[in-house]
Point group: C2
Chain length 409, copies 2
Amino acid sequence: MKIIDGGITAAKGYKCASMRVGIKPSGSNRDLMFLVSEVPATCVGTFTRNKVKAAPVKWDMKLVNETKKAQAVVVNTGIANAATGEQGLESCKLTADAVNEAMGIAPEYVVCGSTGVIGPQLPIEKIVNGVKELSGKLSDAPEEAENAAKAIMTTDTHKKDIAVEFEISGKTCRIGAMCKGSGMIHPNMGTMLGYLMSDVNIDYDLALSTLRAVIDKTFNMVSVDGDTSTNDTVIFMANGLASNNVIDDKNTDDYKTFYEVLYTVCEFLAKNIAEDGEGATRLFTAHVTGAPDYETARIIAKSVITSNLTKAAIFGKDANCGRIFCAMGYSGAEFDPDKVDITMVSEAGSIKLIDKGTLPEFSEEEALRILEPKEITAECELHMGDAEAVAWGCDLTYDYVKINADYRS
Amino acid sequence: MKIIDGGITAAKGYKCASMRVGIKPSGSNRDLMFLVSEVPATCVGTFTRNKVKAAPVKWDMKLVNETKKAQAVVVNTGIANAATGEQGLESCKLTADAVNEAMGIAPEYVVCGSTGVIGPQLPIEKIVNGVKELSGKLSDAPEEAENAAKAIMTTDTHKKDIAVEFEISGKTCRIGAMCKGSGMIHPNMGTMLGYLMSDVNIDYDLALSTLRAVIDKTFNMVSVDGDTSTNDTVIFMANGLASNNVIDDKNTDDYKTFYEVLYTVCEFLAKNIAEDGEGATRLFTAHVTGAPDYETARIIAKSVITSNLTKAAIFGKDANCGRIFCAMGYSGAEFDPDKVDITMVSEAGSIKLIDKGTLPEFSEEEALRILEPKEITAECELHMGDAEAVAWGCDLTYDYVKINADYRS
């Protein structure tokens, strides 16, 4: 597998375009993204477990569960189309109808995505007109892919995309992927919005089970603020244009390759979301090892990166490992506190701050030096078994509060 | 029942004293509090469910579960005596021995409490010498009670205490109570530290079950930052000096009076903790009504006041009810989003911001006016039944981050 240029349209048969139609209250940023596949693609997805689901989530869930194929994606930013009732679903339908009119693509093959303020209705004429205009500008040029990744951003400070190339049964396959994150990030299924477009030829059921498995270990292991969004969506489309032998058996090298590639792509995007969390200055990783089982490791890792107190300490470069230990303790997982070691690691070195459940002697100066870099990892060893898990978060800063105290203005 | 002066030593037979012994790194604030009851008191308590339990929590749990009586309380601030292993427990023993030596009270009747930084060992000689010195200064004067409530504070901006008088079987009974809160507040049993001293005569088992029931609806419904402390402790002592007929039957008016009084005291302290959360400028209450059962209401109310995004919006006086709706949705409770109404209420009036699951037309100016006061309540109506619950939190502010980015320095 190698990383290549080309972003979201790197795989065969995908084109996109984006523009500003005026959904965001101000600024000149793009707020509408339109993407099509030359042919209908197998489409799987994972969605928020929030009981309050945005209209596009309900729309996409139906598509993924019933139609199982997609050929176009329309994403707007600025308004989440959540808590919008029947009118919200009607907006999805009108968007799909606009795609049908412009491109002849079946409305039930149109994936809809929205992100932004919860509550208001979408200005649907702007979107319908935007889709019409964008349908004449679709392109697989790298600049368009870059613009698409920017068009789905809200408070993100930079685009998050990646493209990879790999080989299945002698054929070159590709995945182009992008996502947006930033705030209300505590995915319980996917992240805010993530799109993975591939030309690989793969069985629907196998694609779905693989996506779910990978998402659980990547996007679902990220937290910015503990708030699970109403709009979390990850969509994976595979149009088969790579002409590889269909991947339909878990016990093959081809499947293993595909799994590794999908994991790498999702892990890259998930880490990007954590590092670019609202107001964040640091990527904070929790790596739990020596757990009796994966679930124990997972629960503890997630609890550590979600702790407000730990996140504030990471912002302050404060070697306050007691907070990490405390967050492990209230995670709900079973472990023996008296066996726990916690070591803080960065490119500057490592320092053990909890040793068999107690605080050892340590140099504050040395700790400060190790907590200085932009990427900090807490290695939490339980000494109970061989299972491990990783979760990614960020620090809690003044800017997080500032951004969210007046998000709508 | 009426509220009276006298704080923690308002009930018959209690005296206290406090001083600065130098556990806190700087400042002239008191950091050691010593309290005794004239006679041994029935003692019940509730403690953190965090797997990582501080040494004084382990010490007190043994006392409450085995000895079931107490006659003295020693509390230090500055160091939590958590993650301190065997030496931490030894510090509790040495403290109890010091009380025994000074007052002749059995060591197993001494309640220990600590709050502060997790990790370091206690400077035990300072505490032992402090106890000796304070034993000669014990008093039931209101000024000493006031100093005691201040001595157990960490980043609290004001003391939190209350005293009440009520009648049981024709006898005047009293409860004096105090607590501290501020940060690492998401009690899953008690709050950081809370002490309730009464002269009532009550059966141990009934006192314990009542305390647990009341704590679940008061202290356990508060959150400042979602972090459950290693030290959460609430202790209730009843020395029987009021000479009322023993309360030992749930089906009596006396018991109902006692329950009401204990609930009122705990609710008062819990609300105080929320309002004085680290960096907080506002008390934010979630009142969930129309739930099919209490548990559903409880889970939703707690989720709303714990949401970082909602807390930041309350700080910014932003009528962003979508975040409250979102936090209800990811709470894990079952409800129908399409039936939900959310109304924001303050002394300035009320405004409905979610109507049957969608955002109605509303005036931003009117919303801003209603979100201006210091106490804001979100009334969340599920339209599914008659059960309700209340939870208390605060806003998320720059100062919360500031306080916790360099807590130890």
